[in-house]
Symmetry: C2
Subunit: 191 residues, 2 copies
């Protein structure tokens, strides 16, 4: 239990997000963020490795969630069903946070480097899930292809859900995504 509660870290995240929203990511300096949080810039860098990290700090909780989904299930299921559960778990967690996620996505879309970091994060998730599936007994190739496709579809679906005002929930959209691949691959379209 630190003497100073997690206060400053939280304040830094809040300050960063609000300032990014107000002036844009590139235009806000870490001095400004620190000032709004009531600390010095040096303290900012003790909590976050760099300016970008303030935007991604919260995402670290999600991977354990996904891994637990695989680890907790003991009955025999197909790898596809397991992947489906993993994405479902993610959707549950993201669903209520739509407003802040929309704002966050707008910031990310404004900077290529942020887009890259988001994708790199997903890539780490992807390989962690692949490993977990392999540990669960599935073949490496099978697991790899499945999580690669799974996260590619997740990314597409998430963006569509954030971009379109109404429509189906994230969970509903994700439930349809994987099965739809079959129809896409089977369909014979002319161009």
């Amino acid at each position: 239990m630190p003497r100073w509660p997690e206060d400053s870290r939280t304040r830094l995240v809040d300050a960063a997000i609000s300032l990014f929203g107000e002036h844009g990511y590139a235009a806000t300096t870490v001095d400004e963020i620190a000032a709004r949080a009531g600390v010095t810039a040096r303290t900012f860098f003790r909590h976050f490795g760099d300016k970008e990290e303030a935007l991604f700090a919260e995402d670290d909780e999600m991977l354990p969630l996904m891994l637990a989904t695989i680890g907790d299930s003991t009955e025999p299921v197909t790898a596809e069903a397991l992947m489906q559960r993993v994405l479902g778990r993610l959707a549950e967690h993201l669903e209520p946070r739509r407003p802040e996620l929309t704002q966050r996505q707008a910031i990310i879309d404004s900077e290529v480097s942020l887009t890259g970091r988001e994708l790199a994060k997903q890539a780490r998730w992807q390989s962690a899930i692949t490993e977990a599936l392999v540990a669960r007994g599935f073949g490496a190739e099978h697991a790899g292809v499945l999580s690669a496709i799974g996260f590619a579809l997740f990314s597409r679906t998430l963006h569509a859900w954030l971009a379109e005002p109404g429509g189906a929930t994230l969970s509903e959209r994700l439930r349809d995504a994987l099965p739809r691949v079959r129809t896409v691959l089977d369909e014979v379209s002319s161009g």
Copy 2:
């Protein structure tokens, strides 16, 4: 036709890659790169927006290649076949460059920010290909899913090809990748 040939730009790329290989990406400064290329740091930043760009500058030629593959084909084909051609074109271009790509990949893998940039580049490719497929008359959803899956598999396949010494060529591996998705989705595995 610039009076000074592309000389310094090429020298900068060469200097950057060799220095990244020798001392690591983070440990080599722009000043060192510029010095080895025989110019000043200011000149480096005239050619490349930032330090990372020296590693990615050459990749810009590939997107036009892929787009041309879609644009040039006038006979009716399925979207899947078209996507297959796009990836085949990419493979042709990458196949002979395996040695330098291996070195480049090692550098990219050493830094999250570089990984992110690589993925962001692929994301741009992906949406460009989606647009091209849509312009060719395919449905947006169909095109989007197909290029998402296509590039996800491309990435997997490229890494496997670079990591494993022998085995099939990149083109051969890619030819198998998309069709294999069907078997992965149909297969019922227990875990």
